[in-house]
């Protein structure tokens, strides 16, 4: 049979077979539906907030910086929920809510699923719509109860763990604080930072003093030969006061000059300048003036001697230099020794600081952990005291008998029986046609 018309013809010729098989299929389907009452399925939903169950290390990981305190749960939340859906705990509790319902039978009548947004759907299968509804709703309630129990248990277990760890955590924080104190005591400081600043200031001062000391020393070394040379060239004492007086003939000459000057002035009132009297007086006056000038030199009458101030100053300078040089070496050595001591202290500072930082960090971590454990413990105690709801049962999402559906649906039965019947009819028609052809070609 390999021609189109043969195939179509074979089917067409066996149209009664096809129709009979199809009708038989539909008839059997309807008969079975009538004889065996269909099941009903009702859907009931419960919502689980996305973070409700995350009480494991998944949540605590962010809070607690150190080693895990709680058992590590790697299974996904949804997978955990899925395994809980038809667990023995849920089924038995659901069966307890349904009088006359065997837990084993109930288990086969429950189907469940969970979506990624945390909606859990229970499909309850029952002989009647009411039974299916009751199964679905009871399953949801049982699931919510078990979920609450599990979550509550988880929180209580967490609380126990927190309490067990809390004391140790605080003890650890105290130990780290003590370690910091002990270290500071060993360093003989209360604050290494302030000490270091002081050391740096002092070192800077010493550095400045050393510089000044050396400068002074060099200055004095340069001055010493000059001072000594100057001192050698100067007398120790010098005249500090002298008294001078004019000689007697000088005074007389001055008086004669005054008399002659007066006489000359009077004579000129009477005579001209060319008069012999005037000329005589004038000549005499000039003569007397010359004499007075010649007798004008002062005459030392008394003098006082005292020590030369410069000599005294230079001597003092020399003494100062001697004193400075006598103390220079010891002073310099003291400064340098202190400077060395400060350098040694400062060189150790990074190590001190590193160690202190490490201790401080350790302490901070321990303190933070202790505080967080305390905080979480208080939080959990609060929640457990007040109670938590881990799921939401919305009345509108519960199963109701009016919404329960027949399974298989009448439409499904008709679709299956007619479609499968038609295909089976064609299958039988083609098969019988093939056999007929084979018998025709190979009758044996």
């Amino acid at each position: 049979m390999n021609q189109a018309t043969s195939i179509f013809g074979a089917i067409y010729r066996r149209k009664h077979v096809v129709l009979l098989v199809m009708a038989g299929s539909i008839g059997v389907g309807l008969y079975q539906s009538a004889v065996n009452p269909p099941d009903f399925v009702a859907t009931s939903e419960i919502m689980i907030p996305a973070d409700a169950l995350r009480l494991s290390i998944g949540t605590e990981e962010g809070n607690i910086p150190e080693d895990p305190l709680l058992p590590l749960q790697e299974e996904g939340r949804l997978i955990g929920i899925t395994s809980l859906l038809r667990s023995r705990s849920v089924v038995i509790r659901a069966a307890e809510m349904l009088p006359g319902m065997d837990a084993q039978r109930l288990k086969t009548n429950i189907r469940g699923d969970v979506s990624k947004d945390g909606v859990v759907a229970y499909y309850g299968y029952g002989r009647t719509a009411e039974e299916a509804t009751q199964i679905a709703n009871a399953s949801v309630k049982a699931f919510a109860f078990v979920l609450e129990e599990m979550s509550d248990l988880g929180m209580r277990e967490n609380l126990k763990t927190f309490k067990a760890n809390e004391g140790n955590a605080h003890l650890r924080a105290k130990e780290t604080a003590d370690a910091i104190s002990a270290y500071l005591v060993s360093l003989e400081t209360a604050d290494i930072g302030t000490d270091m600043e002081n050391w740096l200031t002092e070192r800077s001062d010493i550095q400045q003093k050393l510089f000044e000391l050396n400068s002074q020393s060099q200055q004095f070394q340069a001055q010493r030969p000059i001072v000594e040379t100057t001192l050698q060239g100067r007398p120790e004492f010098v005249v500090s006061r002298q008294e001078l007086s004019l000689p007697g003939n000088y005074t007389n000459s001055l008086a004669r000059v005054a008399t002659l000057s007066t006489e000359l002035a009077l004579t000129r009132l009477k005579f001209t300048d060319a008069h012999p009297e005037v000329l005589r007086i004038q000549t005499e006056l000039d003569l007397v003036r010359v004499q007075a000038a010649q007798n004008a030199d002062l005459v030392l009458s008394a003098s006082t001697m005292m020590q030369d101030k410069m000599v005294a100053s230079l001597s003092q300078k020399l003494v100062d230099i001697d004193i400075f040089e006598a103390g220079f070496t010891s002073q310099r050595d003291i400064y340098q020794a202190r400077k060395l001591e400060l350098d040694t202290l400062l060189a150790e500072v990074p190590g001190y600081r590193q160690r202190l930082t490490a201790l401080q960090m350790e302490h901070n971590q321990a303190r933070s952990m202790a505080d967080k454990i305390t905080s979480r413990r208080e939080e959990l105690e609060f929640h457990l005291e007040h109670g938590l709801q881990f799921s939401v049962i919305d009345p509108y999402a519960q199963a109701v008998a009016e919404r329960a559906k027949q399974i298989p649906t009448p439409t499904g039965i008709m679709m299956f029986t007619s479609f499968a019947g038609l295909l089976l009819g064609i299958f039988v028609a083609l098969l019988t046609a093939t056999f007929s052809r084979m018998r025709a070609t190979r009758p044996y």
């Binding site: 049979m1 390999n2 021609q3 189109a4 018309t5 043969s6 195939i7 399925v41 996904g76 949804l78 997978i79 929920i81 899925t82 859906l85 038809r86 086969t108 189907r111 469940g112 699923d113 969970v114 979506s115 990624k116 759907a121 559906k405 399974i407 298989p408 649906t409 439409t411 499904g412 039965i413 679709m415 299956f416 479609f419 499968a420 295909l423 089976l424 064609i426 299958f427 083609l430 098969l431 093939t434």
Partner: protein, 495 residues
């Protein structure tokens, strides 16, 4: 009776024929109207895997417009190519593209229209059409029956039908593809087009790789969640070619890789030197392509299938292969090298590897509790399943979704496929070229078989198109056996 000179008309089939045709037309019109209505109502909002989402999210009537444009394009193309190309080649090329290009929408519908066009065109022109019945096609009827049990499992069977209907065109290809692929020559031609389509996809992959590297953005057809791969050196794009998922791309490319590897190893009387060189080059390119899909399941299945090729090609040397392979295995295991490689590859994305085992357990649980008809296709997504993903294991998926009914249907299909393949391969009457094709396609099924254990491949276009092609091998064998097939030279120069 009708002749070629007097085309068949509807009324020639009599009253019953006229009524049937009228009913079909009304059904087609109603179906089209319903499709447009749904497209306008929901648009592409619910088809998140549809690559057209990239263009515009939630567009109304976009699918209608695309299909309308496809129809216009098809009509125009037919009008143009009818003079330069045959309808058969259109069908073969579309089949090749259907295998490798999930991102091109409407290909299976287009192929269905082409096949029906050829069928009814021939009937109307010549009074009959050559339509060999493939045993695989008959087995597919059982698959459809098994699938329809889903209607009994769901609260809204109409919604399930909406999922089922788009799958029907490629599932029933096993029945309809023999209309066009029924000789060794056409099979060879189809495989050549398949390779050509894979090369086109490889070219797209290359463009994706270059564009992603140049822009620093992931430019592939993959959806969010599996578009990147956390390699030791950072996030790396998983290239998809023309597929929507890197694993599916690796599956297709690996399958073609095994086929070309087989061709490259053919005896010289069956292949020219140039074609052998071409096959080797294509093989190497496909290996690189599979590598850059970063699909570990693809690597594994490709490697295993490639290792099997020599056993089938030179069966008399099997003891040597086993000895050498065993020795290498021993060395690898004793030195810890294989374990190291395994751990390294596994750790590349450990969570992705581990979640599969959880979902497998969900699937098995569903089967044991609902052994007869399972819980319906894709039912495991809502069955105690936190991942909201399907079972990543084809056998368990069949068990969970379709129960024992599905096992019977798929068992029948598998038995049919492999018994017919075995018949062709072992028959002394078989054309050597057909036998070689059967070996190539048969061995390449190892890829899908292996990868199917860790991926969701059950309802993919590639799988069902490939099953249809496997069915065509037996059809070609029967046609050859009758001795009336008009054989033509091989198609090597065409690609």
């Amino acid at each position: 009776m009708t002749t070629a000179d007097s085309p068949t008309r509807i009324r020639d089939f009599g009253t019953v024929g006229t009524v049937i045709m009228a009913v079909l037309c009304v059904a087609a019109g109603g179906g089209l109207g319903y499709f447009v209505y749904q497209d306008g109502l929901a648009g592409l909002r619910n088809t998140y895997t549809n690559p057209l989402q990239l263009l515009e999210t939630g567009s109304h009537y976009l699918a209608t417009m695309v299909i309308g444009l496809l129809l216009v394009g098809l009509t125009t193309a037919l009008a143009i190519v009818n003079r330069i190309w045959s309808m058969d080649r259109m069908i073969l090329f579309t089949t090749g593209m259907l295998l490798v290009a999930d991102v091109i929408p409407g290909l299976s519908t287009l192929l269905g229209m082409l096949l029906l066009g050829k069928l009814f065109g021939n009937i109307l022109k010549k009074g009959d059409a050559h339509w060999p019945l493939s045993p695989t096609g008959i087995a597919v009827l059982l698959i459809l029956i098994a699938y329809s049990t889903t209607f009994l499992n769901v609260e809204s069977p109409v919604s399930s039908l909406a999922n089922f209907l788009p799958r029907i065109p490629y599932i029933v290809l096993a029945l309809f593809l023999p209309i066009a692929v029924n000789t060794t020559r056409k099979l060879e031609m189809l495989v050549d087009y398949f390779i050509l389509a894979a090369l086109l996809s490889l070219g797209v992959e290359l463009i994706q790789g270059v564009a992603s590297a140049a822009t620093g953005q992931i430019i592939t057809f993959a959806g969010e969640g599996f578009e990147t791969f956390e390699a030791p050196w950072g996030a790396t794009a998983r290239l998809t070619g023309l597929m929507t998922h890197p694993n599916r791309y690796s599956n297709v490319a690996s399958t073609v890789g095994i086929i070309v590897l087989w061709f490259a190893l053919q005896p010289k009387e069956l292949i020219t030197r140039q074609r052998r060189i071409a096959m080797w080059v294509i093989f190497v390119l496909l290996v690189i392509g599979v590598l850059f899909s970063w699909s570990r399941s693809g690597w594994m299945s490709f490697g295993l299938a490639a290792m099997m090729v020599p056993f089938f090609r030179w069966p008399h040397l099997s003891p040597i292969f086993l000895g050498v392979g065993g020795f290498l295995l021993f060395v690898g295991l004793s030195t810890g090298f294989l374990e190291m490689v395994y751990e390294y590859v596994r750790n590349l994305s450990r969570s992705s590897a581990d979640f599969r085992w959880h979902i497998d357990q969900i699937g098995l649980q569903a089967f044991f509790e609902h052994p007869t008809i399972g819980i319906g296709v894709e039912g495991t997504k809502d069955y105690f399943n936190a991942y909201e993903l399907q079972v990543h294991n084809a056998p368990i998926q069949v068990l969970a979704d379709l129960g024992m009914v599905g096992v019977v249907a798929f068992g029948t299909l598998l038995l049919t496929v492999f018994s017919t393949l075995l018949r062709v391969v072992t028959s002394p009457l078989a054309n050597p070229r057909l036998r070689s094709l059967a070996m190539a396609l048969g061995i390449s099924t190892i890829v899908t078989f292996v990868q199917g254990f860790v991926e969701v491949f059950l309802w993919l276009k590639f799988l069902w198109t490939f099953i249809a092609i496997l069915g065509c091998i037996y059809v070609a064998f029967l046609e050859d056996s009758k001795g009336d097939s008009k054989e033509e030279p091989a198609l090597s120069p065409r690609i």
